[in-house]
């Protein structure tokens, strides 16, 4: 653990002790994963923003009422709430799914690479938009595992428990989800995201795994 970064457990304790800034850090740390999980399910930015509010309001109530008992695993917990609310909303179908692809103001808010030109930024955003569409094409079971693991930060065992399958089934679904995505990306020539990578050289292999 990075000693300069307080753990989620520490932030929750501080929040419950009245430190509002601790909750702001928790929100900043986890909102993107939760929001992406929701958006990839409901496919509507307005609904996703509403559901993100609902997600964190539910968390606030649970935390402040002393009912939180996740033993430090805040990320999977908040993303499970987000996932469940998004699924409920999508099933109710109160709004027609619609992605606003031409929202330049929104795009500007998501920019993180300052030295890229506007063409690069637009090309990357277009790639990401198409990739989001490809994720929607995955079989439901594969998409569910992918969202829970990659954006929900749930372990494969936690996913297995939550979905009522074995860990090997969860792993298999994730494997096929990633294989399918890579095939679709290749078929659609989505290469912008890895334009900085050199062609694969088996040795040496530089491993940069995501943080748990």
């Amino acid at each position: 653990m990075d000693l300069l970064q307080p753990s989620d457990s520490a932030l929750i304790s501080l929040y419950l002790a009245g430190q509002e800034s601790a909750f702001a850090i928790l929100l900043e740390r986890h909102r993107s994963r939760a929001y992406t999980t929701i958006l990839l399910i409901v496919r509507d930015e307005d609904v996703a923003d509403d559901l993100l509010q609902d997600t964190f309001i539910k968390a606030i109530h649970t935390l402040k009422s002393g009912r939180y008992n996740e033993e430090g695993k805040f990320a999977p917990w908040i993303c499970r709430i987000a996932h469940n609310l998004a699924i409920d909303s999508f099933r109710r179908g109160k709004r027609t799914p619609h992605l606003r692809l031409d929202d330049n103001e929104r795009l500007a808010n998501t920019l993180t690479v300052a030295d890229d030109g506007p063409d690069d930024v637009l090309a990357r955003e277009e790639t990401h938009t198409r990739l989001r569409a490809l994720i929607q094409e995955l079989p439901a079971a594969q998409k569910e595992v992918l969202l829970m693991r990659h954006y929900g930060d749930m372990s494969f065992q936690e996913i297995a428990d939550a979905t009522g399958v074995s860990i090997n089934t969860a792993l298999g679904r994730m494997r096929y989800a990633l294989i399918n995505l890579r095939k679709k990306m290749t078929a659609h020539s989505l290469h912008h995201y890895d334009s900085n990578l050199t062609p694969f050289d088996p040795a040496p292999v530089c491993i940069q795994r995501i943080a748990s």
Partner: protein
């Protein structure tokens, strides 16, 4: 070449779910198995692509959540 590790283990490796001793086993295998290393690279590329898809909510949404939290604290 026959891969020395199952894909499921590799998947747990790239998602940082293996204990340290299993991680070292995988890293050892990657150095001697080009097919496994190629598969691992594919998984990492897919991960990278998925990271790029992440989106942020509108700033007003975060502000509304923080405002609710402050109000909730004031009420309780």
């Amino acid at each position: 070449m026959i891969q020395t590790l199952p894909h499921s283990t590799l998947l747990q490796y790239v998602y940082n779910e293996l204990p340290p001793e299993r991680q070292r086993e995988v890293e050892e295998a990657l150095q001697h198995d080009p097919d496994l290393a190629s598969t691992c690279a594919d998984l990492l590329l897919a991960q990278r692509a998925l990271d790029g898809v992440r989106r942020e909510p509108r700033p007003e949404t975060s502000e509304a959540i923080l405002r609710y939290s402050r109000t909730f604290l004031a009420r309780s």
